[in-house]
Symmetry: C2
């Protein structure tokens, strides 16, 4: 479910498009996701000093206490205050009182009550919640509320009443194409909790790897993983870690396609004789389980029952996507079986397969969820649909009575800006679903497909953009101000670092490795305004395998350039300030001059590092973009009309600079072009 060749092109929304929304009442608060209701009552505030203590009232348990412990350590980390360890008895006056009504679900569930209230006065913060998970959500909001001024750290006086819009708010992590050790998962679970996501969708099997230990069929992980798999102990550890944070863990075993790695150890399950080797390329491949043989179902019965015992969540994801059925078409026994059983085509055959799977899951008290493709006429209504196709497909399923979640629009591996993901809504404003039908839309999941991520880079591919998706899934539909989203996202991004996330700090290291010394300044300038090419163009432009090093310039470069957004915005302001052209003139000239000199400085740097050779044209174009922009500003300032040759040459230069190299492209092209066009014609 990743290399959708015909994935519908998502609506392209630039950061300049601001969807006007219900006025945001609390513009100074850095909350993300924005709560359902916030009342802000400055100047009252609750000071946080070394006397800060916390007590609980009502229900308490180990999970709540661990959550409070983590809260206090993070509060200490930010304030550098040594706070009293432990939790004070509930009858004492403390700065933070947590009043929890009950434990909630023993196993995190889609029906968990995650609501909470926060009431902060200058004497106390009262956090109340019906469940421990609600209290954990509230603690995250509290940490986001922490502010400071010259005198002290404090919580502003607010009243918050909050609950999620959707009950299923997930992050899919594909650890099959590139394996991620448990510490990577743990820090990402911490980050998920920080933005109130509640489902880790653990994509455990793929053509490129089988990543979970099976005691029943050990050749699955032994031969299908290069040794990179999770032991069952580690699986339990991750599930416990997630549960501690109120996060469900939904495992995916993607069948009947995407199953090459299963067939390395058990070729007899395949629809062609084999032998099979672990797939190293990205793409869609032919190997598929044979749905016509009883041994296959016997195997799946044993295997899925083992996994059903290992994973406590009520759902089990069976994938079901992108099986093109080529192995089936070529297998005479399968063809004969279809004829005999009156199965008219491969869709029907897969539907038959899913029906058999469903029985196995039901026997194990699991609900089935799978990708769009599993939706076939005969599918029972208690199966849920995971839609990569879009809201229309999701709505259609909902009308038929199927629960569903959305991932279309949330493919964070495609390197699109947060603003674009932010406008994807599982239940768009123009939805024609009845309220009852709409209840079938459970939420959505960001999808971290992992063709091109390693432990070094994965955090920067997930964060901070996924926080915007988390807001879409938690906050009221009306919270849609993209400018304010980006303002808050920058703050949240910093806070995520305290959880050990590397999304900000790894870039410098990767640049140092490429440059082979500490002088990364000019390369940082370049990298700040280029991005990896979008969608599935990276592999086309710069083919690699799953075994290739992901340490190139394209890997060190991150999506959703903040500098480029700032540049675009300054260009608008500057041009709108015509014919005076004063606003942001200094800043723009400084930025463009930096491009010009950095491009030149980069040439000798690249000449020392063959791995950077692929981006040499980008360095040259960086200089040209800087020069061209400076010339345009110079014309605009002077009020002189440039010669037509200048315009033609400049447009050609900018167009030339739009070409990708090393699967990287400039994201400031439009802004420079606007400067050129404005200079060329004062009345464009």
């Amino acid at each position: 479910m990743t290399t959708k060749k015909y994935l519908p092109l998502l609506l392209t929304v630039t950061c300049a498009v601001t969807v006007t929304a219900q006025e945001v009442k609390t513009p100074k608060l850095n909350l993300m996701p924005m709560p359902a209701s916030v009342k802000f009552q400055p100047p009252d505030r609750l000071v946080v000093d070394s006397s800060f203590k916390v007590a609980t009232r009502g229900h308490t348990d180990a999970r709540l206490q661990a959550g409070i412990h983590r809260f206090m350590r993070r509060l200490e980390g930010r304030t550098v205050l040594t706070l009293a360890p432990g939790i004070v008895p509930g009858d004492q006056m403390t700065q933070l009182m947590i009043q929890c009504e009950g434990a909630g679900k023993n196993i995190p569930s889609v029906s968990e009550n995650e609501s909470y209230r926060i009431d902060i006065t200058d004497r106390q913060a009262l956090l109340s919640a019906p469940t421990v998970v609600g209290a954990l959500r509230g603690l995250e909001t509290l940490l986001q509320l922490l502010d400071a001024d010259r005198t002290a750290y404090f919580f502003p006086a607010v009243q918050i009443q909050d609950q999620p819009r959707f009950p299923w708010r997930g992050l899919l992590i594909d650890i099959a194409r590139h394996f991620q050790p448990t510490d990577v998962l743990k820090r990402n679970l911490d980050a998920m909790a920080a933005v109130k996501l509640n489902v880790l969708h653990w994509h455990l099997t793929e053509d490129q790897g089988f990543r979970v230990e099976s005691k029943k069929f050990p050749k699955l992980h032994q031969l299908g993983s290069d040794g990179n798999y999770y032991t069952q102990e580690q699986v339990k550890e991750i599930i416990a870690y997630a549960r501690d944070r109120g996060i469900r863990v939904v495992p995916e075993f993607d069948i009947p396609g995407h199953s090459t790695s299963w067939l390395v150890g058990y070729p007899e399950l395949g629809s062609a004789p084999g032998p099979y080797t672990i797939e190293r390329r990205p793409g869609i491949f032919e190997p598929a389980l044979d749905p016509t043989r009883e041994e296959v179902y016997k195997f799946l019965d044993t295997f899925l029952s083992e996994m059903a015992g290992l994973f406590p969540d009520e759902y089990l994801h069976i994938g079901g996507d992108e099986n093109e059925g080529k192995q089936w078409d070529r297998n005479p026994a399968i063809q004969a079986y279809m004829k005999q059983k009156g199965i008219k085509d491969n869709h029907a055959l897969q539907a038959y397969f899913n029906t058999r799977l469903l029985k196995i899951l039901q026997k194990n008290n699991k609900k089935m969820i799978g990708w769009d493709e599993i939706l076939q006429p005969e599918l029972p209504k208690d199966v849920a649909i995971h839609s990569w196709r879009g809201t229309a497909a999701l709505a259609e399923a909902a009308r038929k009575g199927y629960d569903g979640i959305l991932s279309n629009g949330y493919y964070i591996d495609l390197i699109q800006p947060a603003s674009q993901h932010y406008v994807s809504d599982p239940l768009p404003a123009d939805s024609t679903l009845t309220p009852l039908e709409a209840k079938h839309v459970l939420g959505g999941e960001a999808t971290m497909w992992a063709e091109w991520v390693t432990p070094e880079t994965i955090d920067s591919r997930i964060w901070p953009r996924t926080a915007a998706i988390a807001e879409r899934l938690w906050s009221p539909r009306t919270v849609t101000d993209i400018t304010d989203m980006y303002r808050r996202l920058a703050v949240i991004s910093l806070q995520l670092e305290e959880l050990g996330l590397n999304h900000k700090k790894y870039q410098d290291m990767m640049l140092r490795r490429l440059v082979r010394n500490d002088d990364i300044g000019p390369l940082k300038t370049l990298v700040s305004i280029i991005e990896p090419v979008k969608e599935y163009r990276r592999y086309q432009l710069r083919p690699q395998t799953m075994l290739s090093p992901l340490t190139g310039a394209v890997d060190a470069t991150t999506p959703d350039s903040e500098t480029a957004r700032k540049f675009s915005w300054m260009v608008q302001e500057f041009l709108n300030d015509g014919p005076r052209f004063q606003l942001y003139q200094t800043e723009l000239i400084q930025m463009l001059a930096d491009w010009q000199t950095s491009g030149a400085s980069l040439v000798p740097v690249i000449d020392r590092s063959p791995a950077l050779k692929e981006i040499k044209p980008l360095a040259e174009n960086l200089t040209r973009l800087g020069e061209t922009g400076l010339e345009a500003i110079s014309y605009l300032k002077s009020g002189m009309q440039p010669p037509k040759e200048w315009r033609d040459r400049s447009v050609a230069r900018v167009d030339e600079a739009a070409k990708p190299y090393g699967a990287l492209e400039f994201v400031v092209i439009a802004g420079v072009k606007q400067l050129v066009m404005a200079a060329a014609d004062a009345k464009p």
Copy 2:
């Protein structure tokens, strides 16, 4: 063994002191530790391109293959080349041929042969070694040899013959005062291997924590660790990880003192009745095991036998340091026992305790090692001495026939520069030991005492300085050029990052957290020329407990400032260039002007972040140091004599700026003062 109140002051050596040594033949190579012999034959070289392959000849095994695999991944990471996976059969022509004679010791041992040879021509690199560990050492040298120019990555044509000077080259990590998860240990083991260290001294127990699971006495870890301990499975995992890299793991169970955490669960072992709680302060504490009771030896017999089975190394470290015997003095039963047995004082009592311990260890086929204090007249000769006192104590032990290792001079927790550690030699040039006696000096260990380190900061406290200690312990005694050491250290420091070490990349994150946004420029300028106060002054100036957050400015600041070294050096060159005063004038003015403006810019930043308040005086002094330096340069340039008031005021300002705040101090004071004095008197 950390808060030595009377630790002899180490000889202070600044980077300006260059010990002239055997001429370095290969000034362009970035090897650390420097091999015993290097012949460099430019311009020949072996190109590394995507056809690069490796083969083995002679002995091979899983450990060697895993080492080659890691080597290839790191080579790919740096070159961004996709290399063929796997190892080619040995009869094929490959760019790298590894010829290994045998497996070496099954359990890494102090008697392991770690030698290797490298011969690189333009067709092949031949790495030959008698053991797998030797081959692993050679692979690290190869990675350090990797170079590049405009056309390609390459290995220069060299002939290297190498073996260590000392067989015991360790890093002690105290994970008791602050716990470190296994991933921290693993990345540090990788770094140790990169600089050819071969002993992880695992300081597992302290007053402040008991960090290893005991199945025999579970209350040790259950009640003595706050839940932060290694399971026996994790211990095995670390030992296997270390063995894979040719590194021994020597556990330390520090007794009879430093044992508060043991007594929380088993107060009956103590010399006073208890109850005991985990110690949270730094320092030397009274609790000690009772050496007069048979139950204590029975307990230790069972416990140490359990640990002897868990840790395969032939040595077991029993600590034995800093027991001041106060509990013994006050215990009438102990006093009566001593009288009855004719034990004349606490030293003799501890010697009696050690003799009993030794029997337990011998029964378990373990050699005993302990700190200086265990050296008592009746100590058998097969016990080794770990000296925090110094080379004289070590030499004295060697003369008496005891093996020993040095840690005096290698206390990396004391925040001293690498140059200072670098001149500490276990066998100094003026040693009067006979060659036979000298053989008892086995090597040394850097000691990472952990009062003030967390997983966020520990790497920056260990690295890169420990690489200089590693060189002292591996390379010939004559390799002593400090300037060249620092040149190579900067390169090695970058390479350590590829192993996941955070010593460089965490600072920015910690500064962002303190500043609460991305604008850390001015704070970085300050932080680049201040360091935490040295030796044991931090706790005196800024008391904290083991439960305090280590997220302040002092934690974000690193030892051995490269910027300060550069500043000192430029000041020398500038002043030596008098009366012209041209050399580095521009650079100095730029640097001083940056201090001046950054100090001013920092004031509003600090006013937003109460946690930074403690360093506000440093920000103010930063401005003043910049101003004063600029004024001095201005006088020097003009050739004018400044008024006496200027001199007095400037000296006073600089002296004022020498005061520490927030346990941080400027390390550019001497340089600024030199400028002032030179300006005040052209003939100082």
